[in-house]
């Protein structure tokens, strides 16, 4: 099960709002190569791994990716604080705002909603680790 620590793994202190870039950065939250997909990939694959070392590392990395997800959400949250109606329209962030206001909702920069099709979990250890290497490159 999971515990929560009331801090970000690395501080996020953004002073200047920027809704244009927030629309792009949100993809690192709910997009195909984002932290939510990464987390779900590892946390899903770990149940069928036949080695403790791999189950362990998938559990721990999956957990850490949730912490990364939190940092991305913090970035988007801080980039979109206190926006005026003019800023919303000018930046194009109004498209997101109309459905979610200033809430965080997992989607890609394109607007495509997060989906489990962003990862694979097949039960064969070699296959799954290849999926992990494709997704995360240097991490695994």
């Amino acid at each position: 099960m999971w515990n929560y620590e009331k801090r970000l793994q690395y501080p996020v202190k953004i002073t200047q709002t920027n809704p244009e870039i927030a629309q792009v950065i949100i993809t690192q939250f709910g997009g195909p190569d984002g932290e939510l997909a990464a987390s779900m990939r590892y946390l899903s694959q770990r149940y069928s791994m036949p080695y403790n070392e791999v189950t362990g590392i998938l559990t721990d990395i999956g957990t850490e990716e949730l912490a990364h997800m939190e940092m991305i959400c913090a970035i988007v949250h801080q980039l979109t604080r206190n926006l005026t109606p003019e800023q919303l329209v000018e930046s194009g962030f109004d498209k997101y705002y109309v459905d979610h206001t200033l809430a965080l909702w997992p989607q890609a920069a394109s607007g495509a909603p997060w989906t489990a099709t962003y990862f694979q979990s097949k039960g064969d250890p070699i296959t799954d680790i290849h999926e992990d290497m494709a997704a995360d490159g240097t991490i695994l």
């Binding site: 690395y10 290849h130 290497m133 240097t138």
Partner: protein
């Protein structure tokens, strides 16, 4: 009709005996005969003799650990895993 059903013995009889040859850095390829299986292979291929159609990942050792503060800034305590994103097509700053 020959029997093509799976036989693990067949798959064990692969080229080479799996013995890794020591690979001197930057040596030019030269033919060498393995004393175990009599297979010829070039000496500079570290994966020589390994099964085909598989991906291999080098084993990480505990070495070159950053100071904790530096590790926190770089996003890794392992110097070998410090690979900054440069955005120029797969290159990185050569130290």
């Amino acid at each position: 009709m020959p029997n093509y059903r799976y036989n693990s013995q067949d798959y064990m009889r692969r080229r080479g005996c799996g013995q890794a040859t020591p690979s001197p850095a930057f040596s030019s390829p030269q033919e060498e005969v393995c004393p175990v299986c009599r297979d010829t292979r070039t000496t500079y291929d570290e994966l020589s003799g390994m099964p085909l159609a598989m991906a291999y990942v080098p084993w990480q050792e505990w070495q070159n650990i950053y100071e904790a503060e530096k590790g926190f800034c770089r996003g890794t305590i392992f110097e070998e895993l410090d690979k900054p994103f440069c955005g120029i097509g797969g290159c990185q700053n050569v130290r």
